[in-house]
């Protein structure tokens, strides 16, 4: 076959005329170029140089192929050398998991994902069904025998039990039974068991958080898992462990129905430990239970009085007789029957004194300060469980008097912890957080002046040294705090057998307002032993906790003006009441 074309073999259109209806300029240019080449063949033949014609054709085809190959080579080189990172082959992180490990602030594991196995049995491949069932039951006691027999007597492969641990899988696998197979499934595991369970919360089988931090940080935990990283909480597992152990001990000693413990860094709002007892109860009492906390509120009343300038430490309050508001008669638990200074009012925990102060300040001031301390709103924390308080509906003098010593308002322990933090860090209300390093978008508001904060710190310390909180003393750790004791409302009246004992502490209480400082709140719900006051049921636990966590937190034992570093008294002070109320 010849490559030489007959010039008359087809109707050759004149140059410059596009064919096929294509009228784009580029197409016109291309067709013109082609026809020019064809014409050159024609011309070559006309000039009696047919070999030129062949060569030109070969050259053209060669050029075209070369161009195509050069393009391909460039493309291949580009793909091989300049491929973007993270392209094919590196989709996702090799350590990626559906949910990140949750760790404490030092990296100790709190929650992780472990591959578990579903146990499947195909009865067609089982030789002796009775023996198989018996042997599986022996190595896997928690399997349901009814389910096992139902699958074994069926006719197709079915799941017997999901969520076998790798150990259980190995045990069943070692039986070497026919027809038994396993399917991997990702499961959320909490290796600490009941420890920190209320902080962590749980996830559903689909890997979505339901409660606690798993719900609060759901998306962030998933994102961290996709990056192959772990998600740190502000919790310190050592502190959490001490808190839980001491809380359990306090509950055992007082035969209480429940208990709450919260330890927080007052300067950053980070929660270092949070426990709610009993751990089997799904209710997180720290975030969701409401309590009238009693005398702990006197701290806020006194702080408001000092901050407004309405009172100073030497202002006198007449507690020589009961304070009458209408028909209501307010008395002291241990009547002193004398005129007291504000400091004595606080150290004697005088209801009359704080009631007088609250009524003097009036509803607007009290409401303003309670709102600023966060006592009228749910505690700001990431946990969705944080409940709104039960607030008073009217703010008359009687209510003000009740509020001044912690009745008439039911708050969550978390609110109390946040308010104590604000009082002892220089007066800044810092939202509590479970995020390591504190909240990035924390909205800090000034509640009281730094001077008031310093005064209250000293007052709290004095209350431990010579007031009702003596049992919270930890040698050299300068613990300050206020007891709270309240009776619960049972069938419409306050029942002294259903009490709540609280101790809200801070340590170390000395030093400047911005010194590192930690708050400890212990609340014992319905203690069964007598006396049921906070100074007896909650304060000892606070002292023991402070004593044990101080080395973890780097708090050194030092002497202050009241006690030596070993806890020996400098002047001989006595518990002014001896009742720990």
């Amino acid at each position: 076959m010849s490559v030489h074309d007959d010039p008359h073999a087809w109707q050759r259109p004149a140059p410059g005329r596009s064919g096929g209806g294509v009228s784009l300029p580029s197409w016109r240019w291309l067709s013109e170029a082609m026809w020019r080449i064809e014409h050159s063949f024609g011309r070559a033949r006309a000039d009696a140089r047919p070999e030129e014609d062949t060569r030109v054709r070969i050259f053209v085809i060669l050029s075209l192929f070369s161009a195509v190959f050069v393009c391909l080579a460039l493309g291949a080189a580009n793909a091989a050398l300049l491929a973007p990172k993270g392209g094919v082959g590196s989709i996702g992180h090799p350590n990626a998991v559906s949910r990140a490990d949750v760790v404490d602030r030092n990296g100790a594991l709190l929650a992780t994902n472990i591959v578990h196995y579903g146990l499947y049995i195909d009865p067609a491949e089982v030789w002796d069904r009775g023996a198989a069932a018996e042997r599986i039951k022996r190595v896997l006691p928690r399997v349901s025998m009814a389910k096992l027999n139902r699958v074994l007597s069926g006719d197709r492969r079915l799941i017997v039990m999901p969520g076998l641990t790798p150990g259980e899988r190995a045990a069943v696998h070692a039986l070497a039974l026919g027809g038994v197979s396993f399917e991997p499934e990702d499961r959320r595991v909490y290796p600490l068991g009941a420890s920190a369970t209320h902080v962590l919360g749980v996830t559903d089988t689909g890997g979505q958080g339901i409660t606690g931090a798993e719900l609060a940080f759901n998306q962030e935990i998933r994102d961290a898992g996709a990056r192959g990283e772990s998600f740190p909480l502000s919790i310190d597992l050592r502190v959490q462990g001490v808190l839980e152990n001491e809380l359990a001990r306090a509950v055992a000693e007082t035969q209480a129905k429940g208990a709450v413990g919260i330890i927080a860094d007052v300067q950053t709002g980070e929660i270092l430990g949070m426990a709610s007892w009993p751990t089997t109860d799904r209710l997180n009492r720290a975030t969701s239970a409401h309590y009238e906390m009693g005398s702990v509120f006197k701290t806020f009343t006194v702080a408001a009085g000092l901050d407004t300038g309405r009172a100073d430490m030497n202002t006198l309050f007449d507690a020589s007789q009961a304070f009458m508001i209408g028909n209501r008669r307010i008395t002291d638990f241990h009547a002193t029957n004398q005129v007291l200074t504000l400091e004595e009012v606080y150290l004697h925990s005088s209801n009359i004194g704080t009631s007088r102060l609250a009524v003097e300040m009036g509803p607007a001031t009290m409401r303003d300060y309670f709102r600023r301390f966060g006592l009228l709103d749910a505690a700001p924390i990431e946990l969705h469980e944080s409940a709104r308080p039960r607030r008073p509906t009217k703010w008359d003098d009687s209510t003000l008097a009740s509020l001044s010593f912690g009745y008439g308002i039911m708050i969550t322990p978390l609110q109390m912890s946040a308010a104590m933090g604000a009082l002892t860090n220089g007066g800044r209300f810092i939202p509590l957080t479970l995020r390591k390093g504190g909240r990035p978008d924390a909205q800090v508001r000034q509640v009281v002046s730094p001077q008031t904060s310093l005064t209250l710190l000293d007052l709290l310390r004095r209350n431990v040294v010579r007031g009702s909180g003596g049992r919270a003393e930890a040698p050299g750790l300068r613990v300050g705090g206020k007891t709270g004791s309240a009776n619960k409302l049972v069938n419409g009246r306050y029942d002294p057998t259903h009490a709540v004992g609280t101790f809200a502490a801070v340590f170390p209480a000395d030093g400047p307002v911005n010194a590192r400082r930690y708050s400890i709140l212990i609340l014992i719900d319905e203690p069964g032993t007598y006396p049921r006051t906070g100074g007896f049921v909650a304060a000892p636990a606070v002292g023991r906790i402070a004593d044990r966590i101080a080395p973890f937190l780097g708090v050194e034992r030092r002497a202050d003006q009241y006690r030596t570093a070993l806890g020996e008294r400098i002047p001989a002070f006595e518990d002014v009441e001896g009742d720990g109320r």
Binding site: G89, P166, L192, G241, N245, P475, D547
Partner: protein
Amino acid sequence: MRALGTLKRVFDWKVRGVRWVEIIGLMLVGAMIFSVYLAKAAAASESARIARLERQITENGQRVRLLRAEAARLEQPGRLEALSRMAGLGPVDVRRQASEASLPELAPIPEPSPAVIVAPTPPAAPPAAQTPAAPAAEVAQ
């Protein structure tokens, strides 16, 4: 012009009717095909190895997770405290705690006693007197 002529001669140089240029081209193409084959085969075995290693990493990662969880369970503070209490241990009393700085007060560094050069005892000395002298000399050094 002359160079063009030389080039043409080289281009037209034939062996048994086949141009050298074409033979060389064919050899080059053959070499290229072979090298591409080698490269592809090496890449395939490498990617298989990578896949194997990645699978191994995943398996090891899962095992590490399992062991970490097991370690966390065994080291949890509640369990450790229960075990310690069973072993009769408890928090250290404040009076028995000391910082590094207070160590010299608790146990003063003993003054180095002057080195005593023990004179060679005469062989006539009784052995009872010689025995206590020997440890003293060792301490002094």
